[in-house]
């Protein structure tokens, strides 16, 4: 054949020589060389493209080898060298073909959410919540679900870059050593370390060690808006038993920066169906939610009494509320404030809150957003103190985040341990001024021109630790060795000060006293298996201490209030992190870019929110580009008209601060980071237009009873047959076909609209579980998004201030009389003997009739080869769930109740010799749902949770008048109801 045989022994031996770990288990691991990889990635083996005489025998040999090795593509991954400990609930060994679960945690926006990550043959594929972790309680938000995609993102930086040129790890080690030597010389007076928001105790310990070695060095934690992280206290709420909740600008139901546990607490405080203590409908108690904010949010949508006003008015309304309770308001605040006359809506909101708080007395709590000005926080503390909520519903603890040692000082040598600070243009500008800089980054950022860009390890590749919102620590254990030549912040810091220490050793050293030395693994392994470190809860700080601290800083109040005084034509600005790509750290995550944003359902964009009246006054349509002018800066951005946005204000979303090397986020969104810190802008139409894509064009129910809701008193009037859940409609019972009979299981699902907050965690969880591809903005614009479960949003009431915003998750209804089944000409969708409406992808020929005939429009069609287009590189193949078929072009797909999970439970039950218990099977959406709104189980088992819910008077079927007899049913939403329109 050729002179260069790809399978010749020398290559494999070369691979063996390079291995340091010694043993090899498979051919692909053995031949771990660049040549081997080149061979794998080339269509033809080397030599075959040279015109040589090839005998039939040689050809067959090559073909055989190619086929053999085709399966080996991209197999360069393995578990870490250190012992990692699976979650105790499952098998402790790696069994080929089965899943293993490891606990770890994701540190995000000031608190960690504990995770249980599923690994298949050493590759992590799915994140679930860790039930033992206080921030998670078993569920997750969208970011925790989508984090796995970031791990396999093909855009990740793979080697260190020195002035933009690839360099080896060794070169970097030498450079770092040289830096340490320079620091030794001047005791670190030229060294500055910049962090993002992190809660890692090990990072904190290493920073202290750095200062110990070089006393003149500084560190500073900067968040993505460019603010130094320096609030010493954090609030921890417990809402489960509260009867009245007042939110001051806090979007605590978002399930994003507020950890998912708050959604659970809130849902439990309002749960009717499935709640133990609320058996008899007459005694049902339900927490009322009052929300005051400056932009529509998931929290305002869920509130019984919501008021959205311009940012400047929030303080005044709060003062007004405080005076109703005769609180002493510092004259410093009162004197500076010129009080505007209260509008009718404001008064009615304040009246309702006053009444409710007075009625509920000591079981009320005020939640305030930690980003609010200090004087507003002070008022909230006063209110909480007055309500006696401290200790019961709210605690203040030392903030789990690592605080800045001092404000940001530019030093000659700068180490930036996170991409987060570089998202603020101000900070980025100053980083560029550093003489020598090291940037730890997932994608690299050439515009900052760092001396060294070091690939950052994903949290699933690193040893680290993190704290929950209430201070509970967790060990972050890796599930996989780093895919690239990357470092974690812990590794980089420990290399800087002590070059022999690995990340694992650093973390163990931090927890030496709690978890024992490296030779004593017992407590350590328990901590790894459970995912939390048991400690006594952190000391609560008395509100008095905090109040005094705030008083010290009260002079900033004056400037804050002064800043907010405005001229008539100005718009007040609220800048929020983007609800799906956050501060931009997830901008290169296709799942999140394509996740419909809450309320607007916009994908792949971040238009400015504007009120309907402002838009009609300026004759603007959705997508019209405006220029926002603020003194020396201006930003061009398209607008989106959203119900409930207060007139005279504009809401912007940061997170589109682009990294040009990123392939997903390139040319997506509009960068507003320049305007951070600005409070007023002038809005000027430009006459240009930008195509904005939304996945839900219509948000009114058109008089149809789709998402049903009523008030608690309406429910209590007629708990046997609440009218709002069952509007009069003739229900046809007749069918040509005989009813299905189910001897064994009869799977069913209920979705509790009282609990659902519309956070969309279910959507990403489903996408991750079921290998659902991303299709891109153009295809979304053609209404071809692929989500198997979607969250519909409907409004009620006037468009300026909707009285109600309803969320309705819609997966496949698994109808008993499924309209899709009868029309498929080839029986590619059929009814299983357990009631699941199955998809047989291999059989589907793609007539799309099933989708036309589906009244719920939950079926999704592969108009193009989406799956293959999405798996753009071999590393993306590692992401796929091996239990779910990848769908090819021309095939219909849809939710099948995570049939793989059902079958796994069946196998387990056969192995154990016990029947499947209620709760053994968790759908991906159900597991992720922070509100526990989704229940799944056997309807034939009358004691099961799902059967209880399905038989509850609040239960109804979507479009039940069509006689499809949906298997997935809803529990009508019950609201507290304020007696207000």
């Amino acid at each position: 054949m050729s002179q260069h045989d790809p399978l010749s022994l020398p290559i494999i031996q070369a691979g063996e020589l390079q291995k340091s770990s010694g043993y090899w288990r498979s051919l692909e691991e053995l031949a771990n060389t660049a040549e081997f990889h080149q061979y794998l990635h080339r269509e033809f083996p080397p030599g075959i493209d040279q015109p040589t005489e090839t005998s039939r025998r040689d050809f067959m040999r090559l073909m055989g080898a190619s086929l053999l090795l085709a399966g080996a593509t991209g197999c360069e991954f393995k578990q870490p060298l250190e012992k990692i400990v699976p979650a105790a609930r499952l098998n402790a060994y790696r069994v080929p073909g089965t899943a293993n679960y490891y606990t770890t945690a994701m540190d995000f926006a000031g608190s960690a959410v504990g995770l249980t990550v599923q690994a298949r043959q050493g590759r992590p594929i799915k994140c679930e919540g860790n039930p033992l972790h206080p921030s998670s309680l078993g569920s997750t938000g969208i970011f925790q679900q989508a984090a796995i995609l970031d791990l396999y993102n093909p855009d990740r930086l793979s080697t260190p870059l020195h002035h933009g040129e690839p360099a080896s790890k060794k070169q970097f080690t030498i450079a770092l050593k040289a830096l340490a030597d320079r620091c030794d010389a001047d005791e670190g007076s030229e060294l500055g370390i910049v962090l993002g928001t992190t809660t890692s105790p090990t990072v904190r310990r290493l920073l202290d060690a750095t200062i110990e070695r070089w006393p003149n060095a500084t560190w500073c934690a900067i968040d993505s808006s460019g603010k130094s992280v320096s609030s010493n206290t954090a609030y921890v709420y417990d809402l489960t038993n509260a009867n009245a909740i007042v939110s001051i600008g806090a979007d605590f139901l978002s399930g994003r920066d507020w950890p998912p546990c708050y959604v659970r607490q809130f849902a439990d405080a309002r749960r009717i169906v499935g709640s133990q203590s609320k058996e008899s409908p007459e005694n049902v108690e339900m927490a009322a939610l009052h929300s005051l904010g400056s932009a529509p949010s998931l929290t305002s949508a869920k509130a019984d009494n919501s008021l959205i006003v311009k940012p400047s008015a929030v303080g005044q309304i709060l003062i007004e509320l405080a005076t109703r309770f005769d609180l002493s308001i510092p004259s410093k605040i009162l004197n500076t404030f010129d009080r505007q006359p209260l509008s009718k809506r404001w008064t009615s909101w304040i009246d309702s809150v006053e009444q409710d708080l007075k009625r509920n007395g000591k079981s009320s709590v005020v939640i305030v957003d930690p980003g609010m000005p200090r004087w507003i926080q002070l008022l909230a503390i006063e209110l909480n103190a007055h309500l006696d909520a401290f200790g019961k519903f709210v605690r203040m603890i030392d903030s789990p985040t690592v605080q800045s040692s001092r404000p940001f000082l530019l030093r000659k040598n700068l180490i930036v341990l996170s991409e987060e600070p570089t998202r603020s243009p101000n900070c980025a500008k100053r980083f560029k001024e550093a003489e020598y800089s090291i940037l730890l980054s997932q994608h690299g950022n050439a515009s900052l021109n760092p001396t060294w860009t070091i690939p950052q390890s994903h949290f699933l590749e690193t040893w680290s630790d993190a704290r929950a919102h209430d201070g509970t620590p967790s060990i972050i254990q890796p599930l996989i060795t780093p895919l690239y030549e990357s470092y974690s912040d812990v590794e980089l810091l420990s290399m800087l000060i002590n070059d022999s220490e690995s990340g694992y050793q650093s973390v163990r050293k931090t927890w030496k006293s709690e978890l024992g030395n490296e030779d004593d693994d017992k407590r350590w392994e328990t901590a790894l298996a459970t995912g939390i470190i048991k400690q006594s809860p952190p000391q609560a700080i008395s509100p008095q201490v905090l109040k005094e601290d705030i008083f010290k800083h009260l002079e900033e109040t004056q400037s804050d209030i002064q800043n907010r005084k405005q001229s008539l034509n100005d718009y007040e600005v609220t800048i929020l992190p983007d609800p799906t790509v956050w501060d931009g750290r997830f901008a290169n995550n296709g799942w999140l870019q394509e996740l419909p944003k809450p309320l607007t359902h916009i994908v792949w964009d971040n238009p400015a929110w504007i009120s309907p009246s402002d838009a009609s006054r300026m004759q603007l349509q959705n997508g019209d580009i405006v220029r926002l002018n603020a003194s020396d800066r201006n930003v061009k951005i398209p607008i989106w008209i959203i119900p409930g946005q207060p007139p005279g204000s504009i809401t912007l979303f940061r997170g589109s601060n682009h990294i040009q090397s990123a392939s997903v986020s390139r040319d997506v969104g509009f960068d507003v980071s320049q305007l951070i810190g600005i409070q007023r802008v002038r809005v000027e139409p430009t006459g240009q237009h930008h195509q904005i894509v939304t996945t839900q064009h219509f948000q009114l129910m058109e008089g149809r009873h789709l998402a049903r809701s009523g008030t608690l008193s309406e429910y209590q009037q007629n708990p046997k047959h609440p009218e709002f859940a069952h509007p009069p409609s003739p229900l046809p019972e007749a069918s040509v076909y005989p009813p299905w009979e189910y001897d064994g299981h009869k799977w069913g699902m209920t979705i509790d609209l009282t609990a659902c907050v519309g956070c969309s965690a279910c959507v990403i969880a489903c996408q991750s579980e079921n290998n659902i591809p991303v299709v891109g903005k153009t295809q979304c614009n053609m209404n071809r998004h692929m989500h198997w479960i979607r969250v519909d949003t409907y409004y009620k009431g006037p468009v300026e201030a909707p009285t109600q915003t309803l969320h309705q998750p819609v997966p496949c209804m698994q109808c008993e009389h499924a309209p899709c089944e009868v029309v498929c000409p080839v029986a590619a969708t059929s009814h299983s003997d357990e009631g699941i409406n199955q998809m047989i992808y291999n059989r589907c020929i793609g007539t799309r009739y099933c989708s036309n005939n589906c009244p719920y429009k939950v079926r999704r069609f592969n108009f193009h080869d989406y799956s293959n287009d999405f798996i753009s590189s071999p590393v993306m193949e590692l992401l796929s769930n091996p239990e779910v078929t990848l769908r090819s072009r021309g095939v219909m797909e849809k939710c099948t109740y995570c049939i793989q999970r059902v079958e796994n439970a069946r196998i387990q039950s056969h192995v154990r010799g016990q029947p499947i218990q209620d709760g053994d099977i968790q759908m991906a959406c159900q597991a992720a749902c922070p509100a526990e709104a989704i229940r799944f189980g056997d309807l034939n088992d009358p004691a099961s949770q799902v059967a209880t819910a399905a038989n509850h008077p609040l239960n109804y079927g979507l479009l039940e008048g069509l006689n499809t007899k949906p298997r997935t049913t809803y529990l009508a939403e019950v609201r507290k109801g304020m007696g207000r329109a």
């Binding site: 839900q696 064009h697 219509f698 948000q699 009114l700 129910m701 058109e702 008089g703 149809r704 789709l706 295809q779 053609m782 209404n783 071809r784 979607r790 519909d792 949003t793 409907y794 309705q808 819609v810 309209p819 009868v822 029309v823 498929c824 000409p825 080839v826 029986a827 059989r843 589907c844 020929i845 793609g846 007539t847 799309r848 009739y849 989708s851 036309n852 005939n853 009244p855 719920y856 429009k857 079926r859 999704r860 069609f861 592969n862 108009f863 193009h864 080869d865 090819s888 072009r889 021309g890 095939v891 219909m892 979507l958 479009l959 069509l962 499809t964």
Partner: protein
């Protein structure tokens, strides 16, 4: 009356000569060449669109999730509708002894066949995975899988298949005596051989005629229910579903009425230029056109009645989804299409009450074209518009056909035109023996 349908000075010889000369004697004319070139260009458009479709999938079209069926299915139903007139003219009019059909039945049948060929392409092309279309065929497979017989698509598959087969046989059978005439009048040996082979040894014997007439009548009997059944089955594709705007019991008669309506319009669209350019005005007379216009008027009224009843039923049911579909047709984003449809299918055809419009070929041609456009709009409105706003407002969306949707449609015109021109050039386009038969009857009447 019959004498209006054949030329005054006609003899057996002249009738035969006039038809066979078209093929055997007259030279190929520039007009034909130009039209055929155009047909070939469009045919290539068809091939390119199919190639592109197979390379990139149905995603090149404008269809999406609420609107799973777009132009492909609209065009399918439209072409199938056009394919109706041929068999109707041949079979039903034969059974009803409407002798005026004699001069137009042959190419009406050809038109049917070619229209069905065009229509038949779409259900295959619109599949997401056309390579597996054979799953629709009931064949014994190792998988043990059969088609799902409850699906109207399967019924449709058989109905269209049967219709295409019967139409082909009926058309061919009707041509056999004429093919023998062609054989006898051919001057070159190879032409005689080809026509001879196609004539299946026809010797014009009395026994042949006896069997032939029987067979033809039986086939006509078989074809007649098919005229009604095909479009009924096609309408079931929609009315069996639960989509508002589709789910309606009036669909079968109203679809058949519509098919006759646009089928006759298409026959006129072809006949009028044909008799002008081929100079066969004496064989296809004004009386023929007048009769066809009357049928069209009647079918048009049926269709209008269908629209009215459908709308009335939607109102009478007082069911929110159906009422919405109708109000959306009247004032929704596609309202222009709906009012254009009313104009084309209900208002303009009323002109046919006036004899002037039936006799003026130009006006009749224009009205026929308008009716064809109207019927296309009707299918578009029924199929795609009912889907774009169905039960859940959260899924509502617009449907915009893309350039590939339109090119494929244009391409099928190429196929139709090419086949039609080849037919005119190679086969006897008017039934010679039936013309001779009429002539003999006229002569007998005159004594």
């Amino acid at each position: 009356m019959k004498k209006d349908l054949i030329p005054q000075d006609a003899s057996y010889e002249s009738v035969t000569a006039e038809v066979t000369d078209l093929v055997l004697r007259r030279p190929i004319r520039t007009g034909w060449m130009l039209s055929f070139f155009m047909g070939l260009v469009l045919l290539n458009v068809l091939l390119v669109s199919i190639g592109w479709l197979f390379t990139y999938g149905v995603g090149i079209w404008g269809i999406n999730i609420p609107v799973g069926w777009g132009l492909a299915i609209v065009n399918f139903v439209w072409w199938i509708g056009i394919g109706h007139a041929g068999t109707l003219i041949s079979a039903i009019l034969l059974l009803l002894h409407q002798d005026w059909r004699a001069s137009i039945n042959r190419f009406a049948e050809a038109m049917t066949l070619f229209a069905v060929a065009c229509a038949g392409l779409y259900p295959l092309l619109h599949l997401g995975r056309p390579q597996y279309f054979f799953y629709m065929i009931p064949y014994p497979a190792t998988t043990g899988m059969w088609p799902q017989f409850r699906s109207p698509l399967i019924w449709d598959f058989f109905a269209v298949g049967t219709y295409a087969t019967v139409s082909l046989v009926f058309w061919y059978l009707g041509m056999i005596p004429d093919l023998a005439t062609m054989r006898d009048r051919s001057k070159s040996l190879w032409k005689a051989r080809v026509y001879g082979a196609l004539a299946l040894g026809w010797r014009n014997s009395a026994q042949h005629w006896y069997h032939y007439k029987r067979t033809y009548l039986i086939l006509a009997g078989i074809a007649t229910p098919l005229v009604v059944s095909v479009h009924t089955t096609v309408s079931w594709d929609f009315s069996v579903s639960i989509v508002s705007g589709w789910h309606s019991t009036i669909f079968p008669p109203y679809f058949v009425g519509g098919a006759i309506f646009c089928g006759f319009a298409m026959v006129l669209v072809i006949t009028i230029p044909l008799r002008r350019f081929y100079n066969v005005k004496d064989l296809v007379t004004a009386k023929h056109l007048d009769n066809m216009a009357k049928v069209m008027l009647a079918a048009g009224l049926t269709v209008s009645y269908g629209y009215l009843m459908d709308a009335w039923a939607a109102w009478y049911k007082n069911e929110p989804f159906d009422s919405y579909i109708y109000s959306n047709r009247f004032v929704g984003p596609y309202a222009t299409c709906f009012w254009a449809l009313v104009l084309c299918n209900c208002v303009i055809p009323q002109l046919l009450w006036f004899p002037w419009f039936r006799q003026n070929t130009l006006a009749l041609f224009a009205i026929s074209v308008i009716i064809n456009i109207g019927m296309w709009l009707e299918r578009f409105i029924i199929i795609s518009l009912s889907l774009h706003r169905d039960h859940l407002p959260s899924s509502w969306a617009m449907y915009y056909p893309t350039v590939w949707d339109w090119l494929l449609y244009a391409g099928t015109f190429g196929l139709f035109l090419s086949l039609m021109l080849l037919f005119l050039r190679l086969l006897p386009s008017i039934s010679i023996y039936e013309m001779r038969e009429s002539l003999s009857e006229v002569k007998e009447e005159q004594g």
